[in-house]
Symmetry: C2
């Protein structure tokens, strides 16, 4: 049995690092709070008997040796970086849950055949660099070299951020995990309302929606807002407003496929009352578990933006920041997790994930399973994010059981 | 005759203070560049024989005594603060032209019956504090005490900005000009394309459009952009986009009245790719020389925003920052300027001003006239702002002639 009390105490202690006024946290990747939180986790991992190392991009990996140190590792983890003023459960429960599972094994004196590794992936949120899951991309050998040049809002590159933490961007390729992995497991809050509405305690993820992210830069003409007649304007913000509504409309038209479209970033220059905005930047995020549906939204958006350009006499430059393919998780992992939920008597259901996760990259390397638990009102990326301790403990029990089953399986051979 | 060479040299020297890379200037009110530029102007004013003083809000006033020091003053001037990365002519030619006129009188040994004052109004642009013409409002006794608490982007209040320049906010009421003014004249670039299109060198302003400025704060719900279905969103930015387009549409519908509507400011929180914006702030500016037309836009906007709120489940808070009434300039001043243009053989036309100016406040105190000269392509509030030296000199000649006529008129009594 995992310890609810310890999970709760650790969650509280972690939530204090980077805490914001409204009860949320800001732990931007490679920022001070992110790094301070890692120190806390290193302590917990060492207490749980894990040997901790840090890979070239800053993924933190704690290893518990198996009876056969050469056997493929069973791995579990998530991330602890956050969006600005984000919640206390996103990522965190996947990391603390995995540590708790190993701590429980240690206390019970259980040795597994396969080694177990707990991983804290670096820079999962795209909040700082505009690109998500940098750590797990590097771990899976999918990080393009150009990513090192991506800049944050303050013009600091990923390479510079890494260097500020003592990491060598030159060796980032070494983060590619070269040993065999038997399976990867990630426990996470749902970040939606499906489990809550269905009254289920555990969601077993069948597939992960992947985002296409687009930066749209609209160039018009900055003119005096009082002396420029309406018919002589090239208003970059009015063009931007049309694009924001297009993203929404086109995603709504694909609602049957669960497709969503969001403009999360808007910046207008010069950004004052008495000047028509001459330049506007938008950050657009389109997601679906159906690649065709997502592509329809992207294609139609590009097509409609051409019309906006022509009609308004503005230039729109589209930069595809990422275009990931939705990931199916293997049926065998879904079956393992379903069997354990039934055995442990947790009400479970299978479901897709609307949000992206580190697990989607791991799925290309190894059989990967994801365990969801409900979060109140589906609210996430928000200080009001909340998961019940009983659900966190249930998710951790399933994670522990899955680790035991997968890591011990060879014993019977 | 005014000196084109001197005007050009002074314009160049002024343009170097707060110069930006693209050839424009940034001289935000009470900022370092604004204050440095004033030092340069004080020097020019003293060379022209003006006695310089600074009033309680920071308006710079240079006085040339008349034969009757007790006679009402003839006043001319404008401002030298700018929008961020603004142009080199907006405001500047009205100040340098007035100084040049006085310098020309001094060199010609002409004494007028009425004293002449050149004024450099503080904080004309709304770029720093969101409210325009702070200096001329205070000069005319129209500045509400609450204005001292208005904050800039960095949270610095007007009172603090004043204090940083050695001014005492407590005495701001003393800026109210108590002596009689015989007339006020302002030379300015048109900031539109009317003169250029009509092939005229001088515009004689018949009325000044006044802005209604609104801050709209939209509160929705910040949720995960991947895991929140389209039908469960309260997207503050999508609501904001509708409002931006409403401002444009409603102003277009009043185009026959010359009404314009602009959203110059948009800020979305938290402003990252993977979170639906939960809060958006818009800065809206609606102007017309017809009060009824402007009010129709404001009323319809408020009405339509109520529908947006209801439909989207967001809250929109509207804050009317300013609501000024369009100003008619007196026929007698228009006649004086028309007569002088004819006499000096400059092609002129009467026209309204779409932009607000310090002159609109002066008009309530004293007969006020405005002289426009063309600016290339109508471009203003932009580094590409350009006025031909020949037009600047022509405008300054008209200004000089008007000052002479108005300041000398009593001599014949």
């Amino acid at each position: 049995m995992v310890s609810s009390e310890r999970l709760q105490a650790n969650l509280r202690e972690l939530a204090a690092i980077g805490a914001t006024e409204g009860g949320g946290i800001t732990r931007l990747a490679y920022g001070d709070a992110d790094w301070q939180a890692r120190l806390f986790l290193i302590g917990l991992m060492e207490q749980a008997g894990l040997q901790v190392r840090c890979d070239a991009i800053g993924n933190l990996i704690g290893r518990r040796e198996g009876r056969n140190p050469a056997a493929p590792v069973v791995m579990a983890g998530s991330h602890i970086d956050s969006v600005p003023n984000g919640g206390n459960f996103d990522g965190a429960i996947g990391v603390l849950g995995a540590i708790e599972a190993v701590q429980t094994l240690a206390e019970a004196g259980i040795m597994t055949y396969h080694p177990i590794e707990v991983v804290v992936f670096a820079s999962e949120e795209s909040s700082r660099f505009g690109v998500a899951t940098l750590g797990s991309k590097a771990f899976c050998g999918e990080l393009p070299a150009a990513a090192l040049k991506i800049k944050d809002k303050d013009g600091i590159t990923l390479a510079e951020a890494m260097r500020s933490r003592g990491l060598s961007p030159e060796t980032v390729g070494d983060a590619h995990y070269s040993s065999d992995i038997k399976a990867f497991l990630e426990l996470h809050i749902e970040q939606g309302k499906v489990l809550e509405n269905a009254g289920k305690q555990i969601g077993i993820v069948t597939g992960i929606a992947a985002p296409t992210r687009i930066r749209a830069v609209i160039t018009g003409q900055a003119d005096h807002s009082g002396a420029t007649p309406m018919n002589l304007r090239q208003d970059a913000l009015a063009a931007g407003a049309e694009i924001i509504l297009l993203v929404e409309q086109l995603a709504c038209a694909e609602m049957a496929c669960g497709t969503v479209g969001t403009t999360g970033i808007v910046k207008a220059e010069p950004g004052v009352m008495n000047v028509i905005p001459g330049k506007v930047e938008l950050g657009i995020d389109i997601r679906s578990i159906c690649q065709d549906s997502k592509q329809r939204v992207v294609d139609k958006l590009c097509h409609e933006i051409e019309k906006v350009q022509a009609r308004r006499g503005v230039a729109v430059n589209l930069d595809i920041l990422s275009n990931e393919v939705p990931v199916k998780l293997p049926d065998e992992m879904v079956s393992v997790l379903q069997g354990l939920c039934d055995k442990l008597q947790y009400a479970s259901m299978t479901m897709p994930s609307g949000a992206g996760h580190d697990a989607m990259h791991l799925a290309a390397m190894t059989p990967t399973g994801m365990i969801f638990i409900p979060c109140q009102g589906g609210i996430s990326h928000n200080p009001a994010e909340w998961a019940e301790l009983s659900d966190i403990a249930a998710g951790t029990e399933v994670l522990l059981a899955a680790i035991r089953q997968l890591a011990a399986a060879e014993r019977t051979h």
